[in-house]
């Protein structure tokens, strides 16, 4: 009962924020609605027993990546998007198409997901940092190291790209 209510609440928040992301014409509004989505998702993760991943969602996504976005938006002082006349089919067929896509996806999910007990808060206890760390540093050690290398490369690339030309 409470689980369902909470889920519906957060899901509603997430969807509304998502729609807002798409329809807003100002990047900073979109960014904030994305933050909203992320917050809602973090709570849903908590409901699914993903404590660590919820915290990581907050820290990494909302706390770092999105701040970076906002930072760039402020830096470039990006203004509203010009509204140009769209092609007809986009205007009229686009939204129905996407709705249809959602429908198909939902259908597929419902049909193909093997029946399983629903989610109750606290039923999943494997998401605590200890477990994550254990399998991260034992089972997934190599991918972990590889991602760290990836991050390093990304940092270098970002620095090279964004630095001022010295000439």
């Amino acid at each position: 009962m409470e689980d369902a209510i909470l889920f519906l609440l957060f899901a509603a928040i997430a969807v509304v924020c998502g729609i807002n992301l798409v329809v807003q014409t100002h990047p900073i509004s979109s960014a904030l609605s994305l933050v909203g989505v992320m917050g809602a998702l973090a709570l849903i993760y908590l409901q699914l027993g993903g404590e660590f991943i919820a915290a990581a969602q907050l820290i990494v996504y909302a706390g770092a990546i999105m701040v970076l976005f906002i930072f760039v938006i402020m830096l470039l002082n990006a203004g509203k998007e010009r509204t140009l006349p769209r092609r007809l089919w986009v205007t009229y067929a686009g939204v129905p198409l996407l709705a249809g896509f959602i429908g198909v996806a939902a259908f597929v999910i419902v049909r193909m997901l093997p029946p399983s007990p629903g989610a109750k808060f606290g039923a999943m206890t494997h998401g605590n940092p200890q477990e994550i760390g254990r399998s991260l540093f034992q089972v997934y050690l190599l991918p972990f190291e590889v991602t760290s290398v990836l991050i390093l490369i990304a940092i270098l690339g970002a620095v090279v790209l964004a630095r001022k030309e010295v000439d």
Binding site: F101, V104, A105, F107, V108, R111, M112
Partner: protein, 619 residues
């Protein structure tokens, strides 16, 4: 675990250090690293061999150390294992010991050369590969070392890359070795197919159990292919041509790689796989024939060469021939024994020659020498020791090993024995010819000879002692657990004649080049055709050029390049290009250049996939 891996790794570390940072190091540091690493390797060899009881009659069994699995595909499972048995122990001692001496020597010899750190880095790398080769416990690892030493010899022959002849010699060595390596790799494949493994232990145990009289054909094939490899690396007919040219490299290189260690890799390999060869009398025949032919052939060429290093190069070839005779006639231990003694005196010869060349600041022509005995006494003395040893004067190291080989040759087939004896005589002759031409008479050159520094003649002294006394190390007895020595009663003259011939050769040389220096000219002019033939090494190089090299080049030019490459391949490629362009011309309308339209296509594809999945799921 004796941590055998340390032995090759130490020189590798030296290579890494010098190779990476040598440019910034001072010569002292470079020396410390290069010599130190090899010396440490030597000491580690001593330590581990000692703790394995190799010096105290132990090490009957092979001591294997497994490090990790390298390749695992289906049934084939190749490990990186190092192993030590008595054979390996001997080789280890030779390689690291001589290697250390030569490194020390090189410090003095290369003192004024450019690319100092490069040289020592290569030398260390060579040590690494050579030790891997010796320690390897399976054919693939041995092959790694095999190729590695080939590479290093290529690099070091072409060390003076500014001279064209050096680079040419390097290429020649590399290419000629390719032929041998090709055979070797084929042999490895065959072994993998027929024995289902490359590990020495399993392969040889299986081989031993094969019926000896009705040995299958493929084992002969394996043996012959291995022999091809060996001829390549150990400069036997028909693939010996690279070795004389290899003298273009610095003299320490000639001593270490092209006399003492690398060229004996072939011998080692054949001896290692003796249990395969023993099953193929035909292959053994081949080994013997090739060996004796090479020995004689090279000796004859050596008679008339005027370049001191060339003389020794040919003598190396011919001595290697001896070793092969030993192997072919079933006296593997004698072959290895000769490997050791030869390592001693041939390294000494080359280093001595190097010291002479150093003294004459680069002069290599015997005709420009003479009377150096008084000017550089130490060098002359050590060279004398070496010459005595190689000439097989009784009680010197060369005497024992050569004698053993010839005895087994006599048991095998007397004529081989006689050819061998004759060769021994010639060997004695040309070596002492070189010696007398260099050290007696009047100085004919225009340089100012000076004795070499201690770092150079110190190692020489050690080697001199070894070449004189080294024969008393009874290798055949030591190797008995691996290679049983065949007992047989021989007529007394068998062990006598080589010595006699040796003395005869020395005497002849003395007469011709000390008492009557004019005589050689007249003889040469008397037998002008023979002389020219010998002097030009039987025109073998020219023959190869006309028979093998130029046809290959022309073939590649006309057929491969003009016809196949330009015609077929380019045609295909261009055709493909054309079709692609036409298709692209049609498809380019999708290329709106708008990212979002691309994304639209992607999404359409995704939707399609989902729908298909959904249908499949429903069905």
């Amino acid at each position: 675990m004796q941590q055998l891996w340390l032995i090759p790794i130490l020189p590798l570390a030296g290579f890494a250090l010098n190779g990476l940072f040598g440019r910034r190091f001072s010569k002292t540091v470079i020396n410390a690293i290069a010599v130190g690493s090899v010396l440490l390797a030597f000491l580690w060899v001593l330590k581990s061999l000692n703790s394995l009881g190799a010096f105290s009659g132990g090490l009957e069994e092979t001591h294997i150390e497994h490090y990790f699995t390298w390749i695992q595909s289906g049934a084939l499972n190749i490990n990186v294992d190092f192993a030590v048995d008595r054979l390996t122990a001997v080789m280890l001692m030779i390689v690291t010991g001589i290697g250390t001496l030569i490194h020390i020597y090189a410090v003095g010899y290369m003192a004024h050369e450019g690319g100092y750190y490069r040289f020592f880095a290569y030398l260390n790398l060579f040590m690494f590969f050579m030790l891997t080769l010796v320690l390897a416990q399976n054919f693939l690892l041995l092959f790694v070392g095999w190729e590695g030493v080939g590479l290093c010899s290529y690099l070091l022959i072409g060390f003076y890359f500014s001279e064209k002849f050096a680079t040419d010699a390097g290429n020649k060595a590399f290419i000629v070795n390719r032929i041998g390596d090709f055979g070797f790799s084929l042999a490895i494949f065959l072994i993998a197919i027929h024995f289902g493994s490359l590990d020495f232990g399993s392969v040889f145990s299986q081989a031993k159990n094969l019926p000896i009289e009705t040995s299958p054909g493929w084992i002969t094939a394996i043996a012959l292919l291995l022999l091809v490899g060996a001829t390549g690396k150990s400069a036997q007919i028909p693939l010996y041509v690279w070795l004389p040219d290899a003298m273009a490299g610095p003299t320490p290189v000639s001593a270490l790689i092209h006399a003492a260690t690398m060229v004996t890799a072939g011998v080692y390999m054949v001896a290692r796989s003796s249990s395969i060869f023993l099953h193929s009398p035909m292959a053994l025949n081949f080994v013997t024939i090739i060996g004796i032919a090479t020995a004689f052939f090279a000796a004859t060429i050596g008679l008339v060469q005027n370049d001191i290093k060339k003389v020794f190069a040919y003598s190396t070839v011919s001595q290697l021939g001896y070793m092969f005779v030993g192997l072919g006639t079933g006296a593997f231990s004698a072959g290895i024994f000769h490997v050791m003694t030869h390592a001693f005196f041939k390294a000494l010869l080359f280093l001595g020659a190097g010291s002479v060349i150093h003294a004459l600041s680069g002069e290599q022509d015997l005709r420009q020498m003479g009377g150096l005995g008084r000017k550089i006494p130490i060098t002359s003395i050590v060279l004398l020791c070496a010459s005595l040893a190689i000439a097989g004067v009784p009680m010197t190291s060369g005497y024992f090993s050569k004698d053993l080989i010839l005895e087994s040759a006599y048991q095998y087939a007397p004529w081989i024995y006689w050819v061998g004896v004759l060769t021994a005589g010639m060997t004695a002759f040309y070596v002492f010819r070189a010696f007398f031409m260099a050290f007696t008479g009047e100085y004919r050159g225009n340089k100012h000879p000076h004795e070499s520094p201690f770092v150079m003649w110190g190692p020489l002294a050690v080697l001199a002692a070894l070449s004189l006394g080294g024969g008393f190390i009874n290798i055949p007895k030591y190797l008995e657990p691996i290679f049983p020595v065949s007992e047989g009663t021989l007529p007394g003259f068998v062990s006598l004649t080589p010595a006699v011939f040796g003395f005869a050769g020395i005497g002849l040389a003395y007469i011709l080049y000390v008492l009557a220096p004019g005589l050689p000219e007249s003889i040469a002019s008397a037998f002008r055709p023979v002389y020219t033939l010998l002097y030009n090494k039987y025109f073998i190089d020219e023959a190869y050029d006309s028979v093998v090299v130029s046809p290959t080049i022309d073939g590649s030019r006309s057929l491969l390049w003009r016809t196949i490459d330009a015609g077929a391949i380019d045609g295909t490629v261009n055709g493909v290009g054309k079709t692609a362009r036409t298709i692209g011309g049609v498809l380019r309308h999708l290329q709106s250049g708008y990212i979002r339209s691309y994304a639209g296509w992607v999404v359409a594809g995704a939707i399609l996939v989902v729908i298909v999945m959904g249908l499949k799921g429903v069905m």
